[in-house]
Amino acid sequence: MPAEPIDRTVLPIRRPPFGGAVKRTLAGSVPDWNQAMHVQPPEGAPNVLLVLVDDAGFGNPSTFGGAISTPNYTRMANDGLRYNRFHVTAVCSPTRAALLTGRNQHRVGYGLVSEFSGPFPGYNATIPRDCATLPRILQENGYMTGAFGKWHLTPDNQQGAAGPFNRWPTGLGFDYFWGFLGGEAGQYDPLITENQKTIGVPSGSDDKPYYFPDDMADKTIEWLHRIRSQDSQTPWFAYVATGCSHAPHHVPREWSDKYRGRFDEGWDVMREQTFARQKELGVVPTGTELTDRDEAFESWDSLDETNRRLYARQMEIYAGYSENCDWNIGRIIDAVEAMGELDNTVVIWIWGDNGASMEGTLTGTFNEMTTLNGIPLTAEQQMGLIFKHGGLEAWGGELMEPHYSCGWALASNTPFQWGKQVASHLGGTRNPMVVRYPTAVTDPGGLRSHFTHVIDIAPTVLELAGIPHPTQVDGIEQEPLHGFTFADSLSSASAPERHTQQYFEAVGNRAMYKDGWWLAQRIPRIPWQLDPEVLRKFGAGWDPDTDPAELYYLPDDFSQANDLADQYPEKVAELQALFWEEAERYNVLPLLGGLSSFYGIVPPIPNESKFTYRGPMENIAAGVIPHIYNHSYTISADLIVPEGGAEGVIVAAFDHLGGFGLFVQDGKLIHHYSMLGVLEYTQESDRPLPSGDVTVEMVFAADAPKPATGGEVTLLVNGKRVGGGRMENTVPARFSGYAGMDIGCDNGLVVHRSYADKAPFRFTGTIKHVVFDIDPDLSEADAQTLNEHAAQALAAHGANA
């Protein structure tokens, strides 16, 4: 390496000037081996293991007094530090964007999630080039960088083979990525992406289903072993973002059965017990009060016995799912320790990108997509559908995609109010963090109560690595980091608290923190309600300053139990004014910019209406599957059927809890459509498929271009009608949060269970091509209406993802 110090403030770091000499031949030429060297991180720079758990609350892990056993988290905390005033953004992608850039989420385009790229700077879901990411900075400084698990920072419609790839993990600073690009995945049937290719749904082995959390740990360990087999010195940065504990709540029974009966006393008792343990552990200060349960949540005492038993099982599954997460992260830590590198690794483990999710509604749901499609189901309907899809024993298994009741989410967020989405309150924004780094920590097992925020991670890691924040990356001037380092707090509980002011905003819920004071303004909307009727009141005429204001003084009121707004109206006004200043500065405006489609601001009508898949094609990501929703469409396929017939899947999208497929079974052409597992429709040809060149078509003639429209299905073979039937209701917004589409087979969970034992049920003839024609010859007005609905659906999904 060059003798003179490297200028790390301008990235990429330029190769040093040639220090040798060149003659016409090697004779007399002087070499300079620095020409062949790569940049190395500063001497002593540590490895960094950054772990982010999904959709979990302050009161979940036992490390912070929760009911879920997290021995590995506790081990890290006992060797390191617990931070009990650490904050996130209250929503998924925004927290990840803030974490990886060190900037406020709106400033980097992530006021909402990656499913919806909106038309305002704070909501375009596109990390700007003047905010280079932490992994990019580390990478350019010589670190080896890998990301594993959930990503959720690539816009939905950019997740296909055509990219673009500059917002994929490998475009944002990671050498290697293995995981899933979207906001969630089935833990038994995730659609896996590796680097820049979506590679498929893995299969289980030894008669056991595949399980993503186990594989994610394996893949992380394998990467660490692989890089170390080549390079034993260079530090690494591993970002491990678990799919757990986001819905669907999936876990093998051996994990959930540990919790049988543990939650029979209900969420109100769980809150009290968790709170008592938190006080005992000291993670909440003496004098903290347990907040009241808002009347939006049901009391446990008001429930009948069947509901209690159902809900208790929901939490048993969630707890087992979370404990497995702890176990798998523990395996990664064990591997690092076995490599002899644990003490030279900064472990930062954040338990939750937002507070626990309330999107299961009051009842919990057998299929989380029902909520996201705006399909309200009563408790009785939910129970009937649970029964239909395998009963309570199937909750947590492969065939359901469940989410627990919001009552458990509230208990998971003990001692706070509310949860995910609710950026105005600590239930949505305050999560546990543990940091282990023996080089710096002088009081292992200690507690830190500095006000810290997810944007503080990047500056802290950079300081510990001895790397400056660059002023320029790729020739582009860089926005300064918004966060503050808390590196000195590792060695000193009395280190100064630098982060004294912070705005919060998500889906209109907002807060302004300054010097201990916290102004909370929650828009008057129950977090699991996103239907247009509810949102309409926040359109024209809405004055956000008239939303109810609550004021808390956190040094005296850790949990936000005592609203002081009436006593300090001048403080309310001061913080309101400060919020608007910050909101303007960081692109928070316009409020609800991520939901603009609900208020008449819709994206241009897509110009792609015909999609051709030539030959078999597998693992097409959910975001780029043709949008067949709410209008007429046709799926056609040109096939070669051998003498004696063929069988198998022509096209299958998503799964039996929401999906559609066209397949041949017992010689017949069959179309199956699952309306989220609530309703199912099947049409079958009245005669066998002929051999030779065959064209099959499925024509859906919608009653009207409107959300969830019914319509008539016609099956045609070589232009002749061979079958059909009516579908009374169709999926209005989105079949699945993660499952993909295949041409010529059905990977992962199948669309129609009749061929599950033959999955992936490959087509035994030849598929020349499959064509989706989603241009239903709409009037311009109808097209605009549907486009508006599609945008709303994406935004609504995004708010919940």
């Binding site: 069947t306 038993r309 129970m383 009937g384 029964f387 009963g391």
Partner: protein, 171 residues
């Protein structure tokens, strides 16, 4: 059997032991002669998918008159393949009463077997329509119930009634 209209009821449960509570309550009403019933049966499919006929009530007979050997309605309602999986499977034959044999002919047992997911339970009862309200209140833990009315307890009527009741559980 009387000439009164009969209700054929199917109730399904997510929680088997709550089904048992309801079953016991209904049996008690029958024993007390509060409800006039031709029988009540509770079927439980355990977490591994094994079917258990936990209890039967047919031994009570109508109006509390004890007849038969205790498994009549069960044997009647459930076809041999299902019975083979139950503890009482080997008892088929001499214990089957006249009414139960009619139900055998109705052949709805397999349907119940298919309909129950592991870890759930189902209850079927035939009783005087006049007792409908009290039976409904008694089966408080059922997540869904569906009833059909029949004019007599012939195999054909029973089959039709059960199918009608079964279709009412869908959706």
């Amino acid at each position: 059997m009387s000439d009164e209209t009969l209700d054929v009821l199917i109730a399904v449960y997510l929680i088997p032991d709550l089904a048992k509570e309801d079953f016991d309550a209904l049996v008690k009403l029958i024993e007390d002669k509060t409800v006039a019933s031709d029988g009540v049966v509770l079927v439980h499919k355990d977490a591994d998918g094994v079917v258990h006929v936990s209890e039967t009530g047919d031994h009570l007979g109508r109006k509390g008159v004890k007849v038969g050997g205790g498994v009549g309605l069960v044997l009647g309602l459930f076809a041999p393949p299902l019975l083979a999986a139950t503890a009482v499977g080997g008892a088929v034959g001499g214990l089957v009463g006249k009414f139960a044999r009619k139900r055998v002919a109705a052949g709805i047992g397999d349907k119940m077997d298919d309909a129950l997911p592991p870890g759930s339970a189902g209850l079927i009862s035939v009783y005087d329509h006049a007792n409908a309200d009290i039976v409904d209140k008694t089966l408080a833990n059922a997540i869904r119930t569906s009833t059909a009315q029949i004019d007599n307890a012939s195999a054909e009527e029973l089959k039709a009634g059960l199918e009608q009741a079964g279709s009412g559980l869908a959706g």
